[in-house]
Symmetry: C2
Subunit: 339 residues, 2 copies
């Protein structure tokens, strides 16, 4: 290699692995959720038939690339970090949009698209007047993500491999994740996950606990509802204690109440949420918190700075429609004295 | 027909006819427009090859249904008016999105989608820091709109048939428009058009003048640049005088300087633009002005009220991303004392 030539394989901060989903976003009243049996604030898995039914009842919408880990990858890139993404789209118009948006953000994305059905995944996201988002996800091509989509070079090159708990829904993605974790650890890298959703935790509680307790996962992100769901407790304190015991580093987000960083043997760090002008749409809040935290983490920042970067990114994304920041997070970090 | 049964054919306020386009919207700096030879503030027509090139250079984007006359139809429906739309999409994912959004807004839309290529039209819209939008439109399936897509019953049932000057770009849409105008006038309805874009006016000046002078078109919407382009004058006053002489009713929009309604033999009406908090994206400003004006017009409101409804809708849409109002214009009219 010539001096000065750039080899991205030496240089990745975070590899994100997740369901590659295009969001279809519309506002609705709370009554609509009740009438259509949509669990508020949750990720509701739906089949093609229900997708068609709900779309027929949905108001005019806008589309934006989404997917939890994809949003995190985009956020890290927006901070100026070096991110990669594994996720499966189909070779269709929504897949083209997804591919464009994540690459245009500067994320390394090379997963082979699926030829033929099912189509690219989409999530119909209904945003109620309180800003809460309720998701209805048709997994589409995501069900085909498997171990053959793991690019070992990229895993080995990434300081942290981060994946979403939602990957336990499609049938073979968990195999891909176990391979990623093995390769990462063989290369002395770290593995991180988000618990994704309280109902997702409920579906895969034992497997998620095993991922932590077996050391497959080092760093866990959870919001308070997910943490309490994991340990089936109504005590946040008990959930944080248990999470701290079960993994090397636990980050618990608490919405407007900020976040807690828990690492065994160390003093816990609590950081407030940033002040916001108007809560528009909570979609992507957790994903962008993880982006900010992991960007700081892979740049060797203090735990407090990592949490503050997470709060900043989450606070910005909830003041706009859509799950990925419209403006540069790098600039926001500079403006916020966090660069 | 049973008493109380609803027959929409008796009841339409405005039929809008235009290119059915999905907008792909991203922010960019002014330098980007220069480097890529994009005419700022204009609608730049592009072919498939240039569409691919520009998309490869575009940042992360969001998608929203657009198209000038489609936006106007959506705006009229949002005010509570009864609107229909003729426009051609393909039977693909973007076409499904377009179809969904316009119907979900309450617009009657029945144009047969195109099977096979070309795909649904898209316009890559670059929004510069000053809020100005520069459009790059690949017409796709729109080139197939023709006289066979004219539903005579809908034309006859609509108080006003409104079309965009942009329809002179695809090859056969103008035939459809001439048919619509004939049917409308046979049914004692009115025909309206927007001049669309100064460069579009430059391409079709003689034909547009003929549409007015032959009485094919009764009501003309133009912004000041289009009006001055039409008459190749640098004097707005001269352009307004000429437009007033050439059609029964002329409405000239002047951005932040409001609008002028000119009707031969009557005192001109000037209405200011509404105060705005932040100019975000000018996409759809003219389309929504026409929506507000035509909604008032078809409800027999005064010229001043029509213009104020236009200013309201335009002022709201430029304070958000995307060309169709996210919030109810009916509610906005109530809140603004214009209902």
């Amino acid at each position: 290699m010539q001096p000065g030539a750039c080899n991205f394989m030496d240089e990745l901060d975070v590899l994100c692995v997740g369901n590659a989903i295009v969001d279809i976003i519309a506002r609705c009243e709370d009554d609509f959720l009740v009438e259509n049996a949509i669990k508020k604030g949750a990720m509701n898995l739906i089949d093609a038939e229900r997708a068609e039914l709900l779309y027929g009842r949905m108001g005019p919408a806008i589309e934006a690339s989404g997917g939890s880990a994809g949003n995190t990858a985009a956020g890290i890139a927006s901070f100026g970090g070096r991110a990669a993404f594994f996720g499966k789209v189909a070779r269709d118009q929504l897949g083209t949009i997804y591919d464009h948006d994540i690459r245009a953000q500067g994320v390394v994305f090379k997963t082979q698209p699926l030829d033929g059905p099912p189509p690219t995944a989409r999530s119909m996201i209904f945003v109620t007047p309180d800003g809460e988002r309720s998701m209805n996800t048709f997994l589409g091509a995501c069900v085909e993500l498997g171990p053959e989509d793991v690019d070992a070079q990229i895993v080995a090159a990434s300081k942290v491999t981060y994946f979403e708990g939602y990957l336990w829904d499609p049938p073979r993605a968990k195999e891909a994740i176990r391979n990623c974790a093995r390769i990462a650890h063989e290369n002395k890298r770290e593995v991180s996950m988000t618990l994704s959703d309280p109902f997702c935790v409920d579906r895969y509680r034992d497997e998620f606990l095993d991922l932590m307790r077996s050391g497959t996962v080092d760093i866990v992100f959870a919001n308070e509802h997910e943490a309490m769901s994991l340990y089936q407790t109504s005590s946040l304190e008990a959930a944080v204690d248990a999470l701290e015991a079960d993994c090397r580093l636990a980050i618990i987000t608490r919405g407007e109440n900020g976040s807690i960083v828990a690492r065994s043997g160390e003093t816990r760090v609590s950081v407030p949420a940033i002040d916001i002008t108007e809560l528009v749409d909570t979609t992507g809040a957790g994903d962008l918190y993880a982006a900010g935290f992991l960007h700081g983490y892979t740049r060797n920042r203090s735990m407090e700075d990592c949490a503050r970067l997470g709060s900043l990114a989450a606070g910005l994304v909830i003041q706009q429609i859509g799950p990925r920041p419209h403006d540069s997070l790098r600039q926001a970090a500079i403006d916020g004295g966090l660069a």
